[in-house]
Symmetry: C2
Subunit: 150 residues, 2 copies
DNA sequence: TCCATTTAGTTGTATTTGCAACAAAAAGTA
DNA sequence: TACTTTTTGTTGCAAATACAACTAAATGGA
């Protein structure tokens, strides 16, 4: 049975659920952690790229980012060469949360990969990267209104 | 870099997004397909188990199921031996949608696994099942209010 | 240069999602 | 048996999510 995608769905929902519950005590509401880590890792990234990276709707990212700014975790900075884009940069408070988020994530990874050898974990990562790459094109296309034939 | 979980998150969001867009023309609103397939595959399943299977909050499942019933895709049947539970069963209309959902899912699987050998696809599935199994305990525990230490 | 297209961002609106808090049946225990 | 706990289900609320539709800047041709 080719149940790879179902397994992926189950794992993703379970982990997201856990993270959301655990980050609530850091005043991070649902999903926020996703955006904050990426902005910390790639300061200056713009909203559009962020949405693409996370695989979430542009407008969802817009509102998540809005909220992060309101809560003082990031700022939107104007670009000197491009009046349209806004570069997202973590504040000190935002940066301070980064290691906490990473620690949680590392723990979940420990739990998730328990019992797998280093080789298996690496193999899993390699395969997942290929799957992600395979699916990215369709995501983009369908998002932009293209119809898939099957 | 142990990015397995991030990859899983990206893949899951991308695929869910695609499915939601594609199933809209079948009058299936967001997420509905997830529940309907499971009910079709395991008729008589109860809400609680369904939530556990899908890895979603009990109340979310409750409302999704409610909507499926309202839309005439499933019925809630009383159990003769247990007054509390309600067995979920697909209607004819619900059953008719099943192959359509599966076809989409198969196509996404084709796209996702493109370029992987049979051996690699099998290996991926095996590893994912182990990861899912590893994470299930934590999901259950955290959902029920238990704190993880890390 | 001018115009069409793409990119980036926003807001309105409808829907889903999930935590809290509750009720009641069932199961477990003394 | 009487009791406590667990299981299953619901509803109120607040929040996130995403489709539509819209601006405006940037880019890419003729």
């Amino acid at each position: 049975m080719r149940d790879q995608l179902r397994e992926i769905g189950m794992i993703a929902r379970a982990l997201d659920s856990i993270s959301n519950i655990e980050f609530k005590e850091l005043e991070l509401t649902k999903g926020q952690y996703l955006y904050l880590v990426r902005i910390c890792e790639e300061p200056g990234i713009i909203q559009e790229k962020l949405a693409e990276l996370i695989k979430v709707d542009r407008t969802t990212a817009a509102r998540a980012v809005q909220k992060l700014e309101t809560n003082g975790l990031i700022t939107k900075q104007d670009d000197p060469h491009n009046k349209k884009i806004k570069r997202l940069v973590p504040t000190e408070r935002g940066k301070a949360l980064y290691p906490v988020i990473i620690r949680e994530h590392e723990h979940s990874t420990d739990v998730a990969l328990a019992g797998l050898s280093d080789k298996e974990a690496e193999q899993l990562l390699r395969l997942l990267k290929r799957v992600r790459h395979n699916i990215e094109g369709d995501w983009d296309a369908v998002k932009k209104g293209k119809k898939r034939n099957y």
